[in-house]
């Protein structure tokens, strides 16, 4: 927990990253507010979706936009320092949050499954058609999963920022590790002799 706080403090110490966070929040909020209700509009994203907003969707939009607003500056901070960024969890969170409402009740999934059915008729017929119904009836759970994935990505990246640049030697093979250990042993012996 301390590492996460330290990571966040380190990244948001600079004004530029704070401003980037605010911009990300505003953009993310607008995007989520226009995307999350698209299950009511047959997958149409935009102003038409705004009239279908309810408390639950607004809360999820704010939560996910806030997590994005923290996540993106953390990632930018690491990229600018040439460090490795944990992006799989983040991409998963964004994909689940954005895709679930768009796929529900829109023609996208039936079209994709129709295409898939030409190659795998059994799979597309038996499982595929149920997918849309599942997404439609489990939206709250899917949005929760998306939020948790984004939160996990924030934690991963904040820890990574707190750790700072890593100088660890990659242990590729046993032979390599043995050589490294031998060198370390020789160095210790050298120090002892001195």
């Amino acid at each position: 927990m301390n590492a996460i706080v330290t990571g966040l403090e380190t990244a948001f110490e600079r004004r530029g990253y704070r401003l980037f966070g605010v911009a990300s929040f505003v953009t993310g909020l607008a995007l989520y507010l226009m995307t999350l209700p698209s299950s009511f509009t047959g997958g149409r994203v935009g102003f038409v979706a705004l009239r279908y907003l309810d408390i639950e969707l607004v809360v999820f939009s704010i939560v996910m936009a806030a997590l994005i607003a923290v996540l993106l500056p953390l990632m930018a901070f690491q990229i600018r320092r040439g460090r490795r960024v944990s992006k799989t969890t983040a991409a998963g969170g964004i994909a689940v949050g954005m895709m679930a409402p768009v796929l529900c009740c829109s023609p996208l999934l039936p079209l994709a499954l129709g295409f898939l059915a030409t190659f795998f008729p059994a799979a597309a017929g038996a499982v595929g058609w149920r997918l849309q119904g599942f997404i439609a009836t489990h939206q709250t759970e899917l949005f929760t999963v998306a939020s948790l994935l984004l939160a996990a990505a924030v934690c991963q990246n904040a820890r990574s920022v707190a750790r700072g640049p890593s100088c660890a030697v990659p242990a590729r093979s046993r032979v390599f590790r043995t050589r490294v250990a031998a060198s370390a042993g020789a160095a210790e012996e050298y120090v002892d002799e001195r």
Partner: protein, 185 residues
């Protein structure tokens, strides 16, 4: 330093691909995929089940018809029912028959019964004289909705010509109202 040089293009490539995918998705969803270029076209003959027995689409020739196939688990169908109830007066005044049919096998996923679905979102429509509720038999599903869209409607004019095919009546109410108010049909 080496990692930085090799890592950047990978990140840019991923971001670029994600951007292209997102843009394509937005473009497709914004324009609607059901836009049918071959319209108007003669509505294919079809029979469907209602509480009062089997009925044929041909019975409605000479009247404007909105043939709507919905699934009871679908959010846009619920929103559509709500929106259609709000515009029921216009639909009735223009003499539009709304044939609301539950999709074959409810679109492949279980949900509440059609009656419970309508009672929950637009109870008044159960007694509306211009509304007919029923279910889509397999033969009609193959002809009208082979891709099994959970929410699809056909606007059919007095001559039996399909004027528009769309989904989500709540989000496309403008199009429905234009059809309703069109004197030529």
């Amino acid at each position: 330093m080496q990692r930085r040089i090799r890592g950047r293009p990978r990140w840019r490539l991923s971001a670029g691909m994600l951007g292209v995918l997102g843009a394509a998705l937005l473009a497709v969803t914004a324009n609607g995929v059901r836009a049918a270029p071959g319209l108007p076209a003669l509505a294919p003959a079809a029979k469907f089940e209602t509480g009062a027995g089997t009925r044929s689409l041909a019975e409605f020739r000479g009247r404007k018809v909105m043939l709507w196939m919905y699934s009871t688990w679908c959010s846009s169908c619920a929103a559509g029912l709500d929106a259609l109830e709000a515009h029921q007066r216009s639909l009735k005044r223009a003499g539009v028959e709304v044939i609301a049919l539950q999709n074959f096998q409810n679109g492949g996923y279980p949900g509440p019964s059609p009656r419970k679905f309508v009672e929950r979102f637009a109870r008044a429509l159960l007694a509306a004289p211009n509304w007919i509720f029923g279910t889509v038999p397999e033969a009609m599903a193959k002809r009208y909705n082979p891709r099994r869209y959970p929410d699809i409607y056909f606007l059919i004019d007095e001559q039996g010509m399909v004027r528009a095919i769309e989904g989500a009546p709540g989000a496309t109410m403008d199009q429905i109202l234009r059809f309703v108010e069109d004197k030529r049909g």
